[in-house]
């Protein structure tokens, strides 16, 4: 099992959710987060003065999936969250040792 952590533009969340539903990936946890990449944020102007804003609002999607589903899920996310401009985000994939469904106590594949 793998944990897919995708950082995307907030306005792309709806598209990504819909696309993942189409391939049968329904479970996810979504958080509002702030972050920055290599471009170090943007400049905003207030009352005639410029301010560097280096932590931008982003949306984090966390999905735990079977190993064989990871590629199709990440492909869908890349496809639907991409604009081609700086700030589209990143996807991190890491192993998951165990999953437990609290309601039933099921573990492993059954609990994903």
């Amino acid at each position: 099992m793998k944990r897919i952590l995708a950082i995307i533009r907030p306005d792309k969340l709806e598209n990504v959710k819909k696309a993942l539903e189409e391939i049968g990936c329904n479970g996810m946890t979504v958080k509002e987060v702030k972050g920055r990449g290599i471009q170090l944020g943007v400049t905003e102007s207030y009352r005639g003065r410029d301010y560097k804003v280096d932590l931008l609002p982003k949306t984090e999607i966390e999905i735990v999936a079977q190993d064989e589903d990871v590629e199709s899920i990440t492909n869908k996310i890349v496809e639907t969250a991409r604009t081609g401009d700086i700030g589209d985000g990143k996807i991190f994939i890491s192993p998951v040792e165990e999953v437990i469904r609290i309601r039933t106590g099921e573990t492993g594949k059954k609990a994903v």
Binding site: E44, Y46, R47, G48, R49, D50, Y51, V53
Partner: protein, 410 residues
């Protein structure tokens, strides 16, 4: 002919009074509340509300009399009716506005005192102790606002010299601007002195309420439902509109994009600048006043402040102080006897006296407010302490001073 109560004038002044109350709570409170860090939103709003409450009480204990009571040496009014004793019961009409009750004139003026204090808070937000602010309000009201209001409006020495301030260019705006400057010099800069508004939507609502309420502020200062009130309302609206567009123009020229906060700031600069002049100038003059005030405000905020290095958090000096100075001088230039027969006119009517006394009013009131606020602030600093602990400032004042959060996720 003896004075008779006019129900029309009284109705308009009741409405004007309510409009000016709306400017402070929640107008100024929301305008300021949207511009600071989210961790300080409640404290910032609270400063305006508590100012309004304290001034409301003190005004009727002794404030009105000190500002508008019988003149003593041109400096201060006599406290003849402490706690407003017997005034309302006597059903008298105001000596300042002979067609409305004395009590109505008094509460109308109270709203000016309250908003002046609340405006100062914009400079000190995000790092001043709440207890220090509570101590500051009554002392500043008594030692600064009441004498200054008496000098200009209560028959004091500046009024006797012919200085004009229709609705508060010196008493409200120069006064709060200079007091703000003094306080921030004592307080020092914030740990994080960026102006990154956490919720510009609040500021939009706050500015809308200010603009709306300003019709009570300026047109209400005609003290009746008269042609002068209509004239004041028109020039007030025009100056705000021109101020807004002028600031947008500056944004466009300097950074390539107009900003909403810039537009709001320009509107307030235009409103503040027309305030002393609203009852004395025509439409052309109002357009010039709004335009010049916004340009001067823009430079004060974007150039003067960073160059001098003081941290006037929400630009009380840069917008209110500077616009108050521009508008008060503008009275000396543009005042027209065709608009208001109390004046023989300013420079454009060939009169030089008025511009002289206007300048004197700015210098004296500005200097008095600045120096007295420095003294008051210093005393509070030595006793209560002006500034919160570093840790409280970094983590935010809402949770540390009030045990409340403006925003909660669950």
């Amino acid at each position: 002919m003896s004075a008779v109560l006019s129900s029309g004038d009284t109705a308009w002044m009741l409405i004007s009074t309510a409009l000016v109350i709306l400017m402070t709570i929640p107008g100024v409170a929301l305008f300021y509340g949207g511009l600071i860090r989210r961790e300080n939103v409640l404290n910032t709003i609270f400063l305006s509300f508590v100012s309004f409450a304290i001034v409301s009480i003190l005004w009727f204990m002794y404030g009105y009399d000190m500002a508008f009571g019988a003149d003593m040496w041109g400096f201060i009014g006599t406290i003849a009716n402490p706690f407003f004793g017997g005034v309302i019961e006597a059903n008298t009409l105001s000596t300042y506005a002979p067609t409305i009750p004395t009590g109505l004139y008094a509460i109308f003026q109270m709203t000016f005192a309250a908003i002046t204090v609340a405006l100062i808070s914009g400079a000190v937000v995000e790092r001043m102790k709440f207890s220090a602010w509570l101590a500051f309000i009554p002392v500043w009201l008594t030692l600064v606002y009441l004498p200054v209001a008496h000098w200009m409006w209560g028959g004091g020495w500046l009024a006797q010299m012919g200085a004009l301030d229709f609705a508060g260019g010196t008493v409200v705006h120069v006064n709060c601007g200079m007091a703000a400057l003094a306080l921030v010099l004592l307080l020092g800069a914030r740990k994080n002195s960026n102006l990154l508004p956490h919720h510009l939507g609040y500021s939009v609502i706050g500015t809308g309420l200010l603009w709306f309420g300003w019709f009570g502020f300026n047109a209400g200062s005609a003290l009746g439902a008269t042609n002068l009130a209509v004239s004041a309302m028109i020039v007030t609206n025009l100056s705000a509109a021109v101020g807004m567009l002028a600031w947008m123009l500056m944004d466009k020229l300097k950074t390539g994009k107009p900003t909403l906060l810039g537009a709001l700031s320009g509107a307030i600069a235009g409103l503040a600048a027309i305030t002393p002049a609203a009852g004395y100038v025509n439409i052309t003059s109002a357009i010039i006043i709004g335009f010049v005030a916004a340009i001067c405000g823009y430079y004060a905020v974007s150039h003067l402040k960073p160059r001098l290095g003081y941290d006037d958090a929400l630009d009380v000096f840069g917008i209110h102080g500077v616009s108050g100075i521009v508008g008060t001088l503008a009275v000396g230039i543009f005042a027209s006897p065709l608009i208001n027969s109390v004046t023989t006119g300013g420079l454009i009517f060939g009169q030089t006296h008025l511009i002289g006394v206007q300048l004197l009013a700015i210098v004296v009131i500005g200097a008095y407010s600045f120096i007295m606020t420095l003294i008051i602030g210093k005393v509070i600093d030595k006793t209560i302490g002006l500034r919160v602990d570093d840790a409280d400032e970094i983590r935010g004042l809402d949770i540390n001073l009030h045990e409340e959060s403006g925003y909660r996720l669950s």
